[in-house]
Subunit: 522 residues, 2 copies
């Protein structure tokens, strides 16, 4: 399914429920370039440590744009022994939201653009109809803008009905505007003596009114004029509510595609990608926040099929690990192609007709590769099993190692309280979920169990492993009968305001200029 | 006429003859962005001196891509008292030429891209079918690559017929390749004993052969193999000639759109643009060379219609000088819309149906504005004249002031000789045309006449003003009956090699790391 700015809002509930019902998700991104420094092979050679590779990519790859995001959701149908898939191709573009919104600049690399062009990539769709997005900092700024504007507008405080010429002597009106202003005053005053409820002023350029409800209106012929309405208190409140709702919707529109990423993050589902470091880094960078200095401890459960294919027992069986070659090899013995059908209403891909380098197709193929490898692991069991679910313990060794704890606490707690709590366990990283819960990532794996043990008798707070948290969420969901209601407006991690006061636990792997924003929860 | 990579070569002679026959040219460019620093209005406000504006644009605007170039040629038809126009829309993209060619990175600014998208700009056409280009330095590098490869290839020196196993013992062939190499030797040796003229080796990966003519051939099924041919000296030379011609054509293809700019530069025609500094800077930067430190002394005869409209006698008559507004005002009295028809075979624009921000259309409108203003100047003459040609003295005050001399000299001269010759006249800037001629730009206008006078009795060299040079070229062309032959392969200014020895005349307004390349001749 192709998702652009045009159908994004209408598709969102479909996307949310596809994520919610899935057993695992596969993702892939297409970018406007790879490297603005060393050439691509130097950036992606296999000799680097993960840390070195992360630093190289952070330095040389983050000014490119992720402009197509592919998501393929895989749901296992136990009765039919097959996977049902839903594929989404999101076109992404940072269309400026208004005059004060960030005017993003991004780099294009000719070789990458030329390569995508040769694959039939539709740049017009990206630039004309791409879905906008904001990272958390931009979202907070925009929210603040709205709040500031609201507090400045007529609506705040008591309405004051002041005739425009009562506090400004006619002497302060320039000669050339005197006639116009005279007509305005006459018109507005006529409101109080006639039964008319509104009066439209002549088109003009931005005079500010006080005292009555003013609406800046665009006429049929694109002329702008101010409409002044006689209203009672009830009506005024109703209109303000309407305006706030409209503003909230505008804000949601501006956050745009980031809402999909928030939903993926919050779902706790296994996310599968092929050679996915760059995809994950771009996703965090564009839709969450500036990347941290050190290799990120990722809150997503990530599995890289390229990494999996180069690990035992696959290493011996698979020669070339490019996505296309991997898929070919996984069709042959000892592997088996999985049984997969496209969900009704979704356009289906034909694997015989390669559409590589469309993000949605690549995500789909990546998911197929994962299933084939996962199911191969089942042949070692006694008795052998044909289907290995993505939650199986057999998969665990291939999932990125996370040392993430889910912590609940009283709503008075600030980031500094969390740093204090974990001060004995080395560096931590905090990602707020809401007022009373957060993810805390420990830099030292061996400290996880100790932290869990010490918390056992605590009363004010509670610690769960990430796995326990995900399991808990799943149980709640199942008891609700797979309701998709949980994915409405509040279904994602919100930026959390903490006081910019001191932070206890020394160097944290983060170097923010301020600590007001959640680093990220991906 | 739309020109892309697909029809560029076939259109080139049409473009050349349109430039050649024109009275003046109008140009316009579309870019992937305006400013990577201060916002656009800060960059383009009218308060800066030209030097300040140049420095700002140089610093903040040159990493964007000029990806559409509009050219509209205007030819006056005396008999019919009307202009005949030819409009070209060139789509430009730095498609990498081969694996070693520059992989250009350029910035996109979301607001600019969004604006062009809203105007229906076709990005797919740019990225899929854009014409490549090289600046002079890249052209020289590519030429050197070809020469190096040629001197390394079999063709150079005497062919040496050596059997592959005569200078390498079989011991140096790895075990796993021995069988394959054996078959190769057998096949090649069979060439000398049979009547066959060629032998195709089995597909392999890059073995280097000595002794016979080897061709790297791509088979029907995309398998690559080496073909070995038995040839006599005659045949070998013929094939080398063919190869050189092919390489020259490849080189021309790579220089691509820059050839059009070279032709405009060489033509000496008046070039009209609207608010054209950025267009000119991008043109020099992409198709010539790194921009100099100081405001460029431009070798083109440039006229900016925005500047013209804000100069007497137009200043009093014209309020708003944006292109669209200017055009509207120039339709009304005291101005007159010029009589213009589109040349046969060219798609015509309808000025009623605005297509602003397509480069070709903007160039067209700019030309119309110029003609209206030029003809208005004719109303001051006694008797008044309805048509003022672009070469008229009445236009001179609006053309950028150039202090450019055309110098011819013996072919032994180097850049240092020119610096020595002009050492008495302040800073100069040299742009080579060929082995025996160059443009020399004097920084001090008042020195031009003195330089001319001192050269009068010189025998080894000759100096003409730029105007004399242009006039001379025109006379030659007319005597040839407007032949378009003069615009073939040699019709543009070539990079000129001078020894990297000392340069006499001190600071020159140029800060090149080397002086091997012509700064530019635009």
């Amino acid at each position: 399914m192709e998702v652009t700015r045009t159908n994004f809002k209408d598709s969102l509930s479909t996307v949310y429920s596809a994520i919610e019902e899935a057993d695992f998700l596969a993702i892939d991104g297409e970018f406007s370039g790879i490297s603005d420094g060393p050439n691509v092979s130097a950036l992606t050679n296999g000799l680097d440590t993960p840390e070195e590779r992360y630093m190289k990519l952070k330095k040389h790859s983050m000014d490119f744009l992720l402009f197509q995001f592919g998501l393929c959701t895989f749901t296992y149908d136990q009765a039919e022994s097959k996977y049902v898939i839903k594929t989404f191709n999101f076109y992404i573009f940072p269309k400026p939201f208004n005059r004060t919104s960030p005017d993003t600049k991004f780099i294009c690399q000719s070789s990458s653009i030329d390569f995508l062009a040769s694959q039939g990539f539709d740049f017009n769709k990206v630039f004309r109809h791409g879905i906008p997005y904001l990272n958390q900092e931009e979202e907070v700024q925009l929210r603040e803008q709205y709040e500031e504007r609201r507090s400045q507008s007529n609506g705040s405080g008591n309405p004051s009905y002041i005739s425009p010429n009562s506090n400004k002597g006619p002497g302060s009106i320039p000669e050339e505007h005197r006639e116009y202003i005279g007509r305005v005053v006459e018109k507005v005053e006529s409101l109080f003596t006639t039964s008319e409820k509104t009066v439209d002023l002549e088109p003009c350029t931005g005079e500010k009114c006080t005292g009555v409800l003013c609406d800046d209106i665009m006429g049929f012929q694109k002329e702008r004029y101010i409409q002044i309405s006689k209203v009672d208190d009830e009506e005024r409140k109703r209109r303000e509510r309407q305006k706030q709702e409209r503003e909230q919707e505008e804000l949601n529109d501006a956050v745009g595609f980031s809402r999909v990423i928030h939903a993926i993050s919050k779902s706790g589902k296994l996310v599968v990608g092929h050679n996915m470091l760059l995809d994950v880094m771009h996703t965090i960078h564009q839709f969450y926040c500036v990347l941290p200095e050190y290799l990120l401890y990722c809150f997503l459960r990530l599995l890289d099929t390229k990494l999996m294919a180069t690990t035992q027992p696959f290493k011996e069986l698979i020669n070339i690990t490019s996505l296309a070659e991997l898929q070919k090899q996984l069709k042959e013995s000892p592997f088996k192609s999985p049984k997969v059908v496209t969900a009704e209403g979704f356009p289906s891909y034909d694997t015989a007709q390669e559409q590589l380098h469309e993000a949605g197709y690549d995500a789909f193929i990546t998911g197929l590769c994962f299933i084939s490898m996962a199911n191969y692991l089942g042949t070692f069991l006694t008795p052998p099993r044909a289907h290995i679910p993505s939650q199986s313990k057999l998969i665990q060794p291939f999932v990125n190692k996370d040392h993430v704890l889910y912590v609940t606490f009283p709503k008075e707690w600030k980031t500094s309280d969390l740093y204090q709590l974990f001060s004995a366990f080395g560096n931590i990283q905090v990602s707020w979920i809401d007022d009373t819960s957060a993810f805390v990532s420990l830099s030292q794996t061996d400290q996880v169990q100790i932290a869990m043990n010490t918390s056992r008798y605590a009363e004010s707070y509670r610690i769960q492993t990430y796995a326990e948290y995900v399991q808990g969420r799943q149980q709640v969901r199942e008891s609700q009968g797979h309701s998709t209601q949980s994915w409405d407006e509040d279904g994602w991690v919100k930026p959390h305001y903490t006081s910019p006061s001191t932070v206890g636990a020394g160097p944290t792997g983060y170097s923010y200029g301020h600590n007001r924003y959640t680093p990220f929860t991906l």
